[in-house]
Amino acid sequence: MPEMTLVGGVNAALAYEMAADDRVLVFGEDIGVNGGVFRATEGLQQRFGPERVIDTPLAEGLIAGMAVGLAAQGLRPVAEIQFMGFSYPTLDQLISHASRLRNRTRGRLSCPMVLRAPFGGGIHAPEHHSESTEALYAHIPGLRVVIPSSPARAYGLLLAAIRDPDPVVFLEPKRIYRLTKQEVADDGEAMPLDVCFVVRDGTDITLVTWGAMIHETLQAAEQLAKEGISAEVIDVATLRPLDTETILESVAKTGRCVIIHEAPRSGGFGAEIAAVVAEHGLLNLLAPVARVTGYDTIMPLLKLEQHFLPSVERIMDTVHKTMEFA
């Protein structure tokens, strides 16, 4: 089995599906000859040609809107937005059209498109290259919001996203694009959408996270194990629609829940998870649900970004307080 990085998983999934299905078109800024600024589409244009791997004019709203038109015509567009910080012109198309095409026409038209964008901090980039605004997208009915956090899940979930009959916003944690390698069978096997993945079993506390924070969260779980605290780690993977059952089952077992995300705290997606646990799991809780998140500030530039991003220490602190509560 080939060893893949997370971005390698993205590339392999795109290549697999383009070879298998000529309805799949890949497009965006610098994704053709250059293979994308993160090389997620490297080699695709050489292999599949410029009609299917398209360098677009520099216009994000166009990229999203064009995907809607292609999808309505029965193609399988996979659009790349270079950084999440440049994705906001696409919100109009996603909110006003992609998410509504099926509903608006009572199923006459549909929108099987994928909009990929790298997100999150920690790569020492300029302003607008480090945000985590996934909650904006996760608020839109009719969309799916999917975030892989390992090479295998990047491969399997992206295949599922391309094959899904409805629009998917696929957010890639760029800080861990090349952090780890994993053996992944390039066999075209998709992973299920709409489910959370339990990536580490535990009995004392449930740690819920997604994206690049999986890395710090697993490190914290490792250290906690040495202290005799058994942490279960859940990768949410699909934010909308949320698999509440996996989270509630875990909390029923552990009685404690800490949610970790990079995005600012207020109105972040952690709030939704905390509300679900409060609504349906309150009587199983031994301690209040806690969050470890970015602050309610603008994402700082690189000199201060490590102070913004949740660290292993901050996760450990919060876990200790939660454990000590009862």
């Binding site: 809107g65 608006r104 006459r108 038209l109």
Partner: protein, 393 residues
Amino acid sequence: MSFLLNHYRQGSLRHLSLSKEACHTQIMSMLGEEEGNMRCVAQFEVGYTGYLDHELRVTGPLPEFAREPVQLIAAYRAMASARAFDRKAINLQRTGQLGTFASCLGEEAIAVAVGLAMRPEDVLLPMYRHHGAYLSRGVRMAELLAYWGGDERGMDFQSVREDFAVAVPIATQAPHAVGVGYAFKYRKEPRVAVCLLGDGATSKGDFYEAINAAGVWELPVVFVVANNLWAISVPRTLQSRAQTLAQKAIAAGFEGEQVDGNDYIAVRDRLDQALQRARSGQGPCLIEALTYRMGDHTTADDSRRYRDAEEVEAWQRRDPLDRLRGYLLQSGAWSEADEEALQVECQEAADQAAQLYLERPLQPPASMFDYLYERLPRAYAEQRKALADPNDV
């Protein structure tokens, strides 16, 4: 106003352009004497087409299709039908039986020309005003009334099933037309995407981004800008300093032209040409059709707040239906008796459509969940159940 009426000079085709000498002179005057090294590297023309003016004068040799009355009568009937639909919709709204409605009054020549010039397999991406385009393509009046009456099923047309639903956010359908056009080109299908926009839409980034991309990829897309001189209360003169809206296409690398939008013959002729070029792989085109919004923006608007009655009256004399009917009467192809019969027929069709719309059983409330995704995710099953059966929760 005089500036705007100036566009309606006679002549079947005029060009708004600078001669090479004038271009040179203008550039020299910008530069000043000492930097007189600049050359004219590009110059452009914008054509204007009109065949039949509002005084029923034929201003040039008619195109083939307009030499016999058959097609013109069919078009006139479609325009009359579209107007009857419009009247019916407004009546229904005024009596509380329809939601807010956007009237097409005065723009029927453009709407019907678009609908009749397209082939069934082409794809229409309209804004919300030009009902006659849908109707001429086979969409039923009852379907459109359902949509404007607040029922999503109205956009589930039983014909032209690849046409887009109306785009309410301005110009947002223009990038869709790029996607549709790209799909046609990618699959090597001789089909065309027709995107209907208003004058206000040409101020938006979506419009610029879309025409730019259509130009880059030479897509089979025809952009039709129905310039009715008003974007709700903001006049054309405040949308852009550009002499024409058509010339915006030039910046995108393809041809833009103006047409008398109240002259069915002219709109249809230029659309036929543009569709034929697009269909045969010669790329996109932009047609700015000059017209006037004779009614309010919608039934929720009162245009007396921002424009003069005399302007509206001046445009009433340019009514596209009066013009085509006048021409047909004058040429003996139509009679007052034909007209009376047609009016009765149109009224009956609109009444019947209204009846169908009003009698249709409502959708169950839980249907709001049923087309959100192909299959409703488990996460929302409980919400749907609570709505479907509130006593069972």
